[in-house]
Amino acid sequence: MTKLRNVAVVGFAQAPIVARDEHHTAQEMLYPQVRRALADCGVERSEIDYQVAGSADYIDGRPFGFVSALDVMGAWPPAQDLHLEMDAAFAAYYAWLRMQAGDCDTAIVCGYGKASEGEPRRILNLQLDPYYQAAIGLDPVSTAALQASQYMARSGADDRDLAAVAARNRAAGARNPEAQVRAGASADELLATPWVVAPLRQGYLPPLGESAVCLVLAAEGKAETMCDRPAWIHGVDQRIELQTLGARDLSRSVGAKLAAEKAFAMAGLESAGAVDVVELSAANPAEELILCEALGLDAQASRPVINPSGGPLTGNPLMMTGLIRLGEAFRQLSGRAGARAVDGAKRAIAHATSGHCLQQNAVFVLGSDRRWS
């Protein structure tokens, strides 16, 4: 493996995930988080070289809203900037790439959007092709249910298996002050919740939530001055799958599997089982089981701990759920995870996804020591 530049997550700030913030626009929610993230790193905005964000203007229905977000990110004097209409974790990947190219040493990565302003099930229908898939009214909960049914038919996993995964996340979420769903629930209680789109029950799906997040990345040399315990990126990869749902085997995530293999190889990681903590962007229990299989994780094992934050099941703010996974991995490795800290965490995996049925996947491997010397 070629020697790459050591780049670390050095700061992260997140607004607590809520159903609806009635007092702030998406941009107004973001501003204090950018300030907090920079303050935690002890730097002024002028010390940041590059800014990149992930959001979708359809979410809050303000065309070119990402331009007004520049006002709260501190884009003046004219900054190097990029915006992705994907989960902001993919923006973090691009910032990492720019650092590998030597274009910048420091970057802020922002995710924002108010899911309560639009109606995501209608909006995300438009992500599908207009002739064959969007035309019949498919929405993200329904496509997730199609995927769950295909996974259950192949694997033999049943309703109770899904409830057990959801219950474990709910218990973890109770320890995360920034989670939206903080009440634990037993598998039996979740099994008694009504179907939303069978085989997915209300208890297996997160409520609509919104937040705003800012993550700070820095290359070796700067990172140590900005954070007492940087979380170094050891490996990262990103993969996309086919657009036509019926042309994919939805019961597996070949994209997540390949991204993981590539990221592990870059990281010199023998297997996912060798890390201490894993944060998966799984917005329902079937996705979590599919991702565990793709990454080679034993969902039953006590280590690594999967989604100690409670995961997306306890807080799923559209366009930033993946970046929060990266932020949670940083918190775990840098001693900032509070009551949900995993004892002695040294290495972590953070996964992000975008699109219907885990169409796009990014896998990050992080460690508390530098990867390349």
Partner: protein
């Protein structure tokens, strides 16, 4: 940090439905597939490298981008490969008002599955169920994937092997479908945010509020929570005057949809006294050719009792007759 020193304000909300029609070009391949449904009640696919028989077809391989090969016909029966039962259909998104299922169906002769819907027999619908297409009647099919109104459960046993038997296209449809219509319907439930809410509420009292940058002292209008230039918070509200100066303008000679004004009229940027950013304004009560940069103007408000707390509360600006302001007084307040 962004906490406002002002007391809390009731949230200002606005619901709005955004609707826009798209007329998507189908191209030759999708157009021919849809014409098969409309004219012939037959389902066509294509042989594709790396994918086998693809239904519905795109004309290329999603695997390697190569061009698709021959057209073939598949059966209108198939096997369900995924099921999602929607308990509470969403109006104007989903095709039915009663519970129904989305399914992926691998039609007999196809190697990929097609997304569609099942309306009845949901209790015995599962992965592996056999289904058959239910067609819309003649005269009602319009060249859409919904020309198959739904699939019905046939009750046959699940086949052991994938059915083969795609037949070459012996009789292509006569006229490819050229367009499909998508009517996007997106309701939104906006909040204004407290800064804008305060600004709009104050207009009712003929007050115009800006917010002051805590670092530079520049007054932002409308008020923002921070200065885009300095990145510092701007959470102190200040009153600015309803008089100001035209910083730049244009004369509009074409009618604009939704704006009921006699043309030509003047749209201008006005820097209000006490503000460091200009707002957009109409200039009336003078001839368009009299408007100039530096001209002093004042707001003409809706009468007391009629102001709603929105941008229409200021009807327009009119000249005050004062001497023009010198350029250096407004050049940095555009």
């Amino acid at each position: 940090m962004s906490a406002s020193p002002e007391p809390a304000i009731a949230p200002l909300r606005q619901d709005l439905v955004s609707e826009f029609p798209y007329k998507h070009s189908t191209g030759e391949v999708i157009g021919r597939f849809l014409a098969g449904l409309k004219e012939q009640k037959r389902i066509w696919g294509q042989r594709v490298a790396g994918q086998g028989v693809v239904v519905p077809p795109f004309g290329y391989s999603e695997i390697d981008g190569s061009a698709a090969g021959e057209w073939v016909e598949v059966k209108s029966t198939g096997t369900v490969t995924a099921v999602a039962v929607v308990q509470q259909p969403i109006e104007r998104l989903h095709p039915f008002a009663e519970p129904f299922a989305f399914v992926l169906v691998r039609l007999d002769g196809a190697d990929t599955a097609m997304a569609h819907v099942v309306k009845d027999d949901l209790a015995r619908l599962r992965v592996g169920s056999r289904v058959a297409a239910v067609w819309k009647p003649d005269g009602e099919r319009e060249g859409s994937v919904r020309d198959i109104s739904c699939f019905r459960v046939t009750g046959e046993p699940t086949p052991k092997a994938i059915a083969a038997g795609a037949e070459p296209m012996n009789e292509p449809p006569k006229e490819p479908v050229k367009y499909v219509q998508t009517d996007v319907h997106l309701p939104y439930h906006y909040v204004a945010g407290d800064h804008r809410a305060r600004y709009l509420q104050a207009l009712k009292d003929k007050r115009i509020l800006g917010s002051k940058c805590s670092q530079t002292g520049r007054v932002l209008l409308p008020p923002m929570i921070n200065s885009a230039e300095s990145f510092a918070p701007a959470d102190q509200f200040v009153d600015v005057s309803d008089k100001g100066v035209v910083t730049t303008f244009c004369i509009v000679n074409i009618p604009v949809i939704g704006r009921n004004l006699e043309i030509p009229y003047v749209a201008a940027s006005v820097a209000l006294d006490g503000a460091d950013l200009s707002i957009f304004a109409l200039i009336q009560e003078c001839k368009p050719e009299e408007v100039r940069m530096g001209m002093r103007v004042e707001a003409v408000w809706k009468p007391d009792g009629e102001r709603q707390g929105d941008h229409e509360d200021i009807l327009y600006f009119r000249p005050t007759g004062e001497p023009d302001a010198p350029a250096e007084s407004y050049i940095n307040r555009l």
